[in-house]
Amino acid sequence: MSTKFAVSVRVGAGILMVSLMSFLSTAKWLKEIVYFDPRAVGTNKITRYLMRFDSLKRVLPDRGVMGYISDASVPSDSGKVQDIRRYYLTQYALSPLIILDTPYCKQVIGNFHETEIDSQTYRQWNVEVLAKFDGVVWLLNKNVK
């Protein structure tokens, strides 16, 4: 009788322990669910960021290689990651154009934080502005002199 009871307890404890711990871990998601704002659907960070390229896309060719310049974020490790992220997102938005992280291309995309950019920032790369889209995205041409 005691052996039967011990086996039942062991089996029961095993099942309960695994089930309970799994369920508690699953319950971690409840916080995510409760704090989710349905109004935020479609307006997440990346979707909003990609919108800045909508106007530019209309004037770009279907295929080709273009350069890329940007004003750097605050110099720090996280700033560096953010700069890389902005460049990658530019490539993601403008695919299948190939965007190189260099100003040394015939045409260059400028992707800036601010609408007002110090002219020194881009003149150092010897480019001229062809068009500005919403202030922060520029299409630039390499000056050939």
Binding site: V11, G14, S25, S95
Partner: protein
């Protein structure tokens, strides 16, 4: 909406028909339907992706051709199945393991309740996550979805997706996931984030379905439920699925290969269909991520050892023939991709023979990697408390139970997972990157690729609750002709 549903329904139906073709069963909705459906989801997406890649290669860039090819394939498969059904061809019956009565009463209800609640919570959480991150996580948009955009948008210039000029996006990564997304976009004739979301959801929940149903078949329903509970109770698994990382599809194909080989071991030598499907699943794993190559090498070594030493040369050759029959066509597709399209792998190309040799002799690299593996394994999964000690306690409580004829399957899985893990380990040892950074970036994801298979193995060797409870009633006193090892 209708074209979107059809763009996924057609590959799934192709996959399901494919599974029925090799696992014939005159009853459509049999006990094994969940197992077949789970396999069908992965096989369907894999087959459609491979077909679309071939179409791209052949220059068939029109939508009607894509739809036409798949419709013809589906009709042919359905036709063969109907013909077989009419001819009354015998079914492939995998014997159901475990003669014990199902777990009774409170325990059974508890397991069903927990699994059901987890499915609801995880399902809603998955939806919340994909709505919050419709483009997926960093790797999803910067690698997989971006490549899908290239393939879909560039038309005849789809090869630009693999340009070495965008080496940072790892253009050498295998194309299965981006190709299936681009194929669905082609199908519905526009780009929508709903496609990668749906693909991610299908792979995530098909993995759960596969582990539950396969263990129910190979062990007992409670064992299947417990494995599903553990997998669904791994927040990191659901999270990585929801942010559309390719590690989850890879985990699915690794698990599918292992499950199919275990099912094969339940059949007589005259039936080799599961070997063929296992080879295909292994092929899809290679086409999903580069890590799939390590897994395929590991499973080939494991199977060779088990079959030669356990069964002899003749069964080895016949089983390998079928396994390779499923693997080789997909491997050829990948070889073409690697030779013709993909630039050199960043890890391998920056690897210098001398520095790799130096790293292999560097004790500190081993110490750091062992430490990283240990820490990540203990903290893996994002559980409320580390889960591995709980599994160890569970195993101590219920014990180990391996039947004699299941030994080959279990040894295969142990060797395959062990060798794959060792492959990952040595990839870190010789990495040309900063070791700490490399481990921080990827180790958790590598562990996740093997996690469903590990859970499967765990519940394959753990004694079923039914068996443990029946043992107390003296049922195990009956001599077992199959040579049970306790």
């Amino acid at each position: 909406m209708i074209p979107f549903v059809f763009s996924l329904l057609i590959p799934i139906t192709i996959g399901l028909s494919w599974v029925y073709l090799f696992w014939s069963d005159h009853r459509l909705l049999s006990f094994d339907f969940l197992l077949k459906a789970s396999l069908g989801v992965g096989f369907g997406l894999g087959i459609s992706s491979s077909l679309y890649f071939l179409e791209l290669f052949l220059g068939w860039s029109s939508r009607s051709k894509t739809i036409g090819v798949e419709t013809v394939l589906l009709l042919v498969l359905v036709g063969i199945l109907c013909y077989r059904s009419c001819m009354g061809r015998s079914d492939v019956q995998v014997p159901k393991q475990g003669s014990e009565p199902s777990l009774r009463g409170a325990f059974r209800r508890l397991l069903f309740l927990v699994l059901f609640l987890e499915l609801i919570v995880d399902g809603v959480a998955f939806l919340v996550m994909i709505l919050k991150y419709p483009h997926g996580g960093w790797d999803a948009w910067s690698i997989w979805n971006m490549r899908a955009r290239f393939i879909y948008r560039a038309g005849i210039y789809w090869r630009d997706a693999f340009s070495p000029l965008i080496g940072w996006s790892h253009p050498d990564y295998p194309p299965l996931v981006p190709t299936i997304i681009a194929r669905c976009w082609r199908y519905i004739a526009h780009e929508t984030v709903a496609v990668p979301m749906a693909v991610a959801m299908l792979f995530t929940f098909a993995t759960v379905g596969l582990i539950c149903s396969s263990l129910s078949k190979l062990r007992s329903s409670s064992q299947g439920l417990l494995a599903g509970i553990v997998l669904l109770g791994t927040p990191f698994f659901v999270k990585l699925g929801a942010v559309q990382y390719a590690d989850v599809p890879l985990a699915f194909f690794v698990l599918a290969t292992i499950v199919l080989l275990c099912l094969q071991d339940q059949l007589s030598e005259s039936h080799q269909s599961f070997n063929y499907m296992a080879g295909m699943a292994a092929g899809f794993s290679v086409c999903t991520k580069n890590e799939g190559l390590i897994f395929v090498l590991a499973i080939l070594i494991a199977r060779t050892i088990v079959l030669i030493f356990g069964k002899g040369w003749k069964p080895f050759l016949s089983q390998m023939l079928f396994f390779l029959g499923g693997l080789i066509p997909l491997a050829l597709l990948l070889i073409y991709f690697k030779i013709q399209l993909a630039p050199p792998n960043d890890l391998l190309s920056s690897l210098k023979a001398r520095s790799a040799a130096t790293s292999l002799l560097e004790a500190s690299e081993y110490v750091q990697t062992i430490k990283a593996f240990a820490v990540r394994m203990i903290n893996f999964g994002e559980w409320v408390i580390p889960f591995l000690p709980i599994l160890v306690l569970y195993l101590i409580g219920l014990g180990v139970h391996v039947e004699g004829r299941e030994k080959p399957s279990i040894v295969t899985v142990v060797i395959a997972l062990g060798l794959t893990g060792a492959g990952y380990f040595f990839a870190y040892i010789i990495t040309p990157y900063n070791l700490k950074w490399h481990q921080f970036q990827s180790l958790n994801r590598l562990l996740l690729q093997l996690w469903p298979s590990f859970v499967f193995l765990f519940f394959l060797v753990a004694r079923c609750p039914e068996k443990a409870l029946n043992a107390k009633e003296g049922l195990e006193k009956t001599p077992d002709p199959r040579g049970i090892v306790h």
